[in-house]
């Protein structure tokens, strides 16, 4: 106990004889951290800057003079070219995926954590084993199967596909979320005569929200710019999600690629990810560390 009092860092006030040294240590920490942050964030901010340059400037070496030519020209040009349609497609797929994953994973997590039934271990293992099956390797059978079910060239079909491959993570997180809730809570509710659904909605809901937020964020971020699945299962232009619209700009264009447009399109794809993550990261990290890592 005495050693703890002597050596615990953290919440100790910065006073006393060793304070200057600690303050210097903190300064070094902040400087190193800032430099490292620059490495990770500046390339992304740089893309925002480059997206505001006309194509003629974007295709020349960056220079100080660029700063006086900033405009939203690429964005207005993209909007005229129909980028909002692809953005909406991406958004619809991502929202459908996030909603479906949250619903299905919450149900399954509840089922695995709170109910005993024959085969639950096997079914749970099967769902988790999906983590080991790369969907990238199942493109051909999935294409043929989804084609025969009319799910190719279909945003709902794409969302169902995304939902499935988000399930192992989602179910795992939700099951652990339920397991961390004191067993007494649902028992008490059962004794009071609440049905399992009622218990979930009225008693457990606030306690599982961090897990749900994690599941939703993962599913949304995964499907928002997922590439190879969309490339395989969508073929008509008017269903293209954002990355497909961009690859179309890169590959499909005759002659020179319009890099200004491409850069602006990439920034449009980036913004929701950044906003969502920064707004919800508390849940995101809590879910990540409690779900996957603690096992």
């Amino acid at each position: 106990m005495t050693t703890r009092a002597l050596t615990t860092t953290g919440a100790r006030p910065v006073t006393g004889p060793r304070a200057p040294r600690r303050r210097a240590g903190l300064a070094v920490y902040l400087v190193v951290g800032t430099l490292l942050s620059i490495v990770f964030v500046v390339p992304l901010a740089w893309a925002v800057f480059r997206s505001m340059l006309p194509d003629a400037l974007v295709t020349t070496a960056p220079s100080r003079a660029d700063l006086s030519h900033l405009s939203f020209g690429n964005y207005t040009g993209l909007i005229r070219g129909g980028i909002m349609h692809s953005t909406l497609n991406s958004l619809m797929v991502a929202v459908m995926t996030a909603g479906a994953t949250a619903l299905v994973a919450t149900m399954a997590g509840y089922g695995f954590a709170r109910f005993r039934f024959r085969g639950s271990g096997i079914v749970f293992a099967l769902i988790l084993a999906t983590l080991m099956v790369p969907f990238q390797a199942l493109l051909t059978p999935l294409f043929l199967e989804m084609h025969s079910l009319d799910l190719t060239n279909n945003l709902i079909g794409l969302a169902l596909f995304y939902t499935t491959f988000n399930l192992p993570f989602g179910v795992f997180v939700m099951r652990n979320t339920f397991l961390q809730i004191p067993w007494e809570l649902s028992e008490q509710a059962a004794v009071d005569g609440a049905s399992p659904t009622r218990t979930l909605v009225s008693v457990l809901r606030p306690l599982i929200l961090p897990g749900v937020a994690t599941t939703v964020l993962y599913a949304f971020l995964f499907s928002w710019t997922e590439f190879v699945g969309a490339l395989t299962f969508l073929t008509s232009n008017n269903l293209y999600t954002l990355p497909l619209a961009l690859i179309n700009m890169e590959y499909g264009s005759v002659g020179q690629v319009n890099f200004g447009f491409l850069e602006a399109g990439a920034v449009i794809a980036m913004i929701p990810c950044v906003v969502l993550y920064i707004a919800l990261q508390r849940y995101y990290i809590r879910g990540l560390t409690s779900g996957v890592v603690k096992g």
Partner: protein
């Protein structure tokens, strides 16, 4: 995966009529006898209902396609028209296909290059942000941001910066005298591979950081306090305490990054289009091109099955190699210790 094992053992010990049901992560519980009988049957049925949508999706979009893939791989399936069985000939053809073999070797090379740096950079970042110091939360956010934005989006951004004359990479390296300002990164094998590896390390280290940081914060502070009393250096504490306690997290992050590398597609498809020729074509891209550009669905699927098998073996092997008796006792010790940092 560990918890699935926990689940199984938990069920074994918590047999039907037992009134004492041990449960992962909680105290032994006394289950009142009136919760038995028909109520238990009904609750079992509710459980099945609750998990069935998840199971149905997995059955339709994973299990069936997996079996179907094995079947397709034994045919000469074209995109349109009839097919017939060809037995194992797709597989024997694979073994002699220089393009396929190159894509396998290329994927292995790429994986070998990026895995170590991702772990080391991720570990360093995790060690840097694990304590709650002023700024650490902000730094975590910054380091994780590239992973959040996604590889596809960032590949489009990088495409511009890798262009000769106009890209920022050439501008910076040219100023520093490290490369010519007209270096065309995406059309030379070595340059493209190098650039993509650096890019992916930048992208993926944040995830490894998060996985390791979660584990680091679960290590009881008492261990470090004892080490401090003994006058241990930073590196001694990392080597003797953090790394052994982190085995499972390290295993997990390695599995995630190795499998991620095996399945690389976006960065190559967007940045090099597999070129020059098919020199930077990873396996997934080979499958995609073979199936949906050349319409050899049967043949492509045979390659895909090989990928499924390899990914399965890697996950199994890494779990096996990185788990030992030690981690299990550590885990148990951790669970029963009340005063640990959460």
């Amino acid at each position: 995966m560990v918890s699935s094992r926990q689940k199984v053992t938990g069920e074994k010990s918590g047999s039907r009529d037992a009134t004492v049901v041990p449960r992962a992560g909680s105290r032994f519980r006394f289950v009142p006898p009136r919760l038995g009988g028909s109520l238990r049957v009904r609750r079992g049925r509710t459980g099945i209902l609750l998990v069935s949508p998840a199971f149905a999706l997995v059955a339709v979009f994973v299990l069936f396609p997996l079996g179907f893939a094995v079947y397709i791989s034994a045919t000469n399936w074209p995109l349109i028209g009839s097919y017939h069985m060809v037995g194992g000939s797709n597989y024997s053809q694979l073994a002699h296909d220089p393009v396929f073999i190159h894509s396998v070797l290329f994927t292995l090379l790429y994986t070998a290059i990026v895995t170590g740096p991702i772990l080391i950079v991720g570990y360093t970042l995790a060690a840097f942000v694990r304590a709650n110091r002023p700024g650490s939360v902000l730094f975590r956010t910054a380091f994780f941001l590239p992973f959040i934005v996604g590889l596809a989006t960032e590949s489009f951004m990088l495409l511009l910066e890798l262009q000769p004359e106009s890209g920022a990479i050439d501008a910076v390296l040219g100023k520093l005298g490290l490369a010519s300002a007209s270096t065309a990164w995406t059309v030379h094998y070595g340059l493209a591979l190098g650039a993509i590896c650096v890019f992916v390390i930048w992208f993926a280290s944040g995830l490894t950081m998060m996985i390791l940081m979660g584990g680091m914060q679960g290590i009881p502070t008492e261990l470090y306090e004892a080490a401090n009393v003994d006058g241990a250096t930073w590196w001694q504490k990392e080597r003797r305490i953090t790394i052994p306690m982190l085995r499972r997290n390290i295993a997990l992050s390695l599995i995630i990054s190795v499998i991620g590398s095996f399945l690389a597609f976006n960065q190559f498809f967007i940045l090099t289009q597999g070129g020059p020729g098919t020199q930077t074509e990873p396996i997934v891209m080979w499958i995609y091109e073979e199936a949906f550009v050349d319409y050899h669905l049967g043949y492509a699927t045979a390659g895909a099955i090989a990928l499924v098998v390899v990914v399965g073996i890697v996950s199994a092997a890494q779990f096996f190699l990185l788990r030992d008796e030690n981690t299990r006792t550590v885990r148990r010790g951790r669970q029963s210790r009340p005063g640990r940092r959460a």
